[in-house]
């Protein structure tokens, strides 16, 4: 059975993103928004059984594109100071910060710095120590698995807060599934100890240099990393008054 969708041209992210695509050119490099999902059809039905008429629908989903200057508010100041502090520490800003995303649009925008993994620790140290940045409180790490973002499948998102300046931002680091290594930030933020263990437990990201990277929520001998998208929910069908309700991950769903 051939998939009717396979021979059709896949729309590019900028076509589907519409007004939120922004500029794709940041500095001298071209940064593509990250495709995190490619939806096909509708209602989760594929092949000949699909009579919905939506069978040929192919829709890539991309995260908001990198922003261009001015970022707005205090974001520009923070990025400028970070570039300066990194320069003094001998780290090129363009190499360390791959892109800057301002999302969601509007007054309540939040700043996300996409940082190259090899420069994560110096960036965190700069963010924590410089008196004009002072992101002294780390509120943890959360992993996200984007199986369609080829070469950058696993993301670790660090949530930093500056109590001094009443600001908060995100630092996002990506690593490929084939080489799931990210340097540990516990030397800068000891609070990330358990959060990194949790991210290892649920996503399989190895935090190099972590003092004791062991599973924290799942049993020590658990196979696999449960929060990854390719890990099934593991529900069992429920029988109620003669009818069988399938587990939520195998139910017909809206794509």
């Amino acid at each position: 059975m051939t998939d009717p969708a396979s021979d059709k041209a896949v729309p590019q992210p900028e076509e589907v993103l519409g007004p939120r695509s922004g500029e794709l050119v940041s500095g001298s490099r071209v940064v593509q928004p990250e495709v995190i999902e490619v939806r096909q059809g509708m209602f989760g039905v594929h092949g000949t059984g699909d009579t919905s008429g939506y069978g040929g629908l192919v829709q890539p989903v991309a995260m908001p594109a990198p922003a261009t200057r001015p970022y707005g508010g205090w974001f520009d100041d923070v990025v400028d100071i970070l570039a300066e502090v990194l320069g003094e520490a001998g780290v090129a800003y363009d190499e360390a910060v791959e892109s800057v995303v301002v999302d969601p649009p509007g007054e309540r925008a939040e700043l996300t710095l996409h940082v190259a993994r090899e420069h994560l620790v110096p960036v965190c140290r700069a963010l924590r120590d410089d008196q004009d940045l002072r992101f002294e409180l780390s509120l943890g790490v959360s992993g996200v698995h984007y199986p369609h973002d080829v070469g950058r499948e696993l993301h670790a998102v660090y949530h930093l807060t500056s109590v001094t300046h009443s600001r908060s931002l995100r630092v996002e680091v990506a690593c490929p599934d084939a080489d799931p290594h990210i340097p540990s930030t516990t030397s800068v933020y000891p609070a990330n100890d358990w959060h990194e263990r949790e991210t290892w437990d649920f996503f399989g990201i190895v935090f190099d240099g972590h003092p004791g990277l062991a599973r924290i929520e799942m049993p020590d001998d658990w196979p696999g990393h449960p929060q990854r998208k390719d890990y099934p929910l593991g529900g069992i069908p429920v029988e109620y008054k003669g009818a069988t309700v399938p587990p939520p991950d195998t139910r017909r769903q809206y794509s």
Partner: protein, 449 residues
């Protein structure tokens, strides 16, 4: 506020030349003597406290390396209550998410609901469209919940030290608040009352009288708790100077909430990053500088009074906004239900169902689509924090533009704060471990999620 340490201490040698004038006795079991004699100088003794131990607030496992009565190393083992709530949320609609996250920290369910809903609203771009009455109800419910949660902390903390009366008073007071919750949401816990866009239903008639009655009762019980604990020499002997954690330690370990404020830093998300209109309420953030377990008890009591102050302001605003909507006007987001108390308890309004089923096919289709498919949330990610009774609760939401969260992560304050157990307990007595853990107030449902 200053707390002068008493000249004696329950778990340490007397200070200076303090002499209670009472002869001391030591009791020891025969078996234990043999074990200790064999182990001395040879091997270390590691004692597992929990996961089934009454003083560990659920299923916390403490691994203590002890030398006599002194704890030389303390480590936490968690995960015994992990239920995969975050994973489950990825398979349900955005609205159903509240039903899941309310079950995380079961002593403070309304905070998870609010944080999650604020995050979803931010992604939807409807933060400013949430009706004022809905925000007032959220604040009212959260502050009552904060008092209820602190009461459990103080009550169980007292119980663990043998003060059963503290527990019975605290739980009696909490009962008053749970009755209010039951009247508003239909449930005493696991409410799923706060929904993206507002709240599920307006507060019932006569709530103001009920809450005002509860306020009087809770104040009375809080006064009794204060009288029982704060000047009690035995209580102070157990708590003053125990479980100290400095400001630097708190910041390094990401500790927030009463534990951070007991070091003197007035960091409160309600003031630092206001949400739900907290900037318009009049309340103080109590702090202390002793940074010990006793000061945390005092702070929790103080916070209860501050919360009651906010509740009173909420009641005035509720009276002013009577009849106003409690859900966004956008019918593509607002759940098309109208709840009413039927003969069988709480349920859908029969008039509303009759209208949908009998008069409008479009309304029926819309109802069906919204309930089964849910609404779509624009692509992106957001981070929303609220001041939870135990610290800063963060919600990281990622949307792929679908009807379900792509990822929902909760940064539970108890999870993070448990990292401080080693620092707070090592070098102290085994009996101090119980007090120190109680001052962190971990709730394992939130820790393990």
């Amino acid at each position: 506020m200053s707390t002068s340490a008493p000249p004696y201490h329950a778990t340490r040698p007397p200070v200076g030349d303090f002499d209670p004038g009472i002869p001391g006795f030591e009791a020891s079991g025969g078996d234990w003597d043999e074990i200790a004699r064999e182990a001395v100088g040879e091997e270390r003794i590691v004692v597992n406290m929990g996961p089934q131990h009454p003083s560990t607030h659920g299923v916390l496992r403490l691994m203590l390396e002890i030398d006599g009565e002194t704890v030389s190393e303390a480590r936490c083992g968690i995960g015994y209550l992990h239920t995969g709530i975050e994973k489950n949320m990825e398979f349900r609609t955005w609205t159903q998410g509240t039903t899941f996250c309310t079950r995380m920290d079961y002593l403070a369910p309304l905070f998870q609901e609010t944080a999650y809903c604020l995050g979803v609203e931010k992604l939807l771009g409807v933060v400013d469209d949430v009706p004022e009455r809905a925000s007032v109800i959220r604040v009212l419910m959260m502050e009552l919940n904060r008092v209820a949660s602190h009461l459990v902390c103080l009550g169980t903390g007292g119980n663990e030290m043998g003060a059963t009366t503290v527990m019975t008073i605290a739980f009696t007071a909490r009962e008053e608040i749970l009755r209010v919750f039951e009247a508003v949401t239909g449930l005493r816990m696991n409410h799923a009352y706060i929904r993206p866009g507002g709240v599920a239903t307006d507060v019932p008639e006569g709530l103001e009288d009920q809450v005002r009655h509860a306020l009087v009762e809770v104040r009375k019980y809080l006064g009794q708790l204060g009288d029982l604990m704060l000047a009690n020499p035995i209580f102070k002997a157990r708590l003053v100077g125990v479980g100290e954690l400095s400001l630097a330690g708190c910041m390094a370990l990401g500790i927030t909430g009463p534990v951070l404020r007991s070091t003197g830093l007035p960091y409160d998300v309600r003031k630092a990053f206001p949400y739900s209109g907290y900037e318009t309420y009049d309340f103080d953030v109590p702090t202390d500088t002793a940074a010990d377990c006793y000061s945390r008890v005092v702070l929790r009591l103080e916070e209860c009074y501050q919360s009651l102050k906010i509740v009173e302001q909420c009641l005035t605003r509720l009276a002013d906004t009577a009849g106003a909507p409690v859900m966004v006007a956008d019918r593509k987001i607002a759940w098309p239900a109208q709840l009413a108390v039927g003969a069988d308890g709480q349920g859908n309004s029969l008039d509303h169902i009759r209208q949908i089923m009998g008069t409008s096919m479009e309304a029926l289709i819309h109802h069906f689509k919204l309930v089964t498919e849910g609404f779509r949330v624009p692509v992106g990610q957001t981070w929303q924090t609220v001041e939870h009774p135990r610290g800063e609760l963060g919600v990281h939401l990622v949307s792929d533009g679908g009807t379900k969260p792509y990822r929902a992560h909760f940064r539970d304050p108890s999870f993070n704060n448990l990292q401080a157990v080693s620092v707070m307990c090592e070098g102290g007595q085994v009996a101090d471990v119980v007090v120190a853990v109680a001052s962190l107030d971990p709730v394992l449902g939130g820790v393990d999620r």
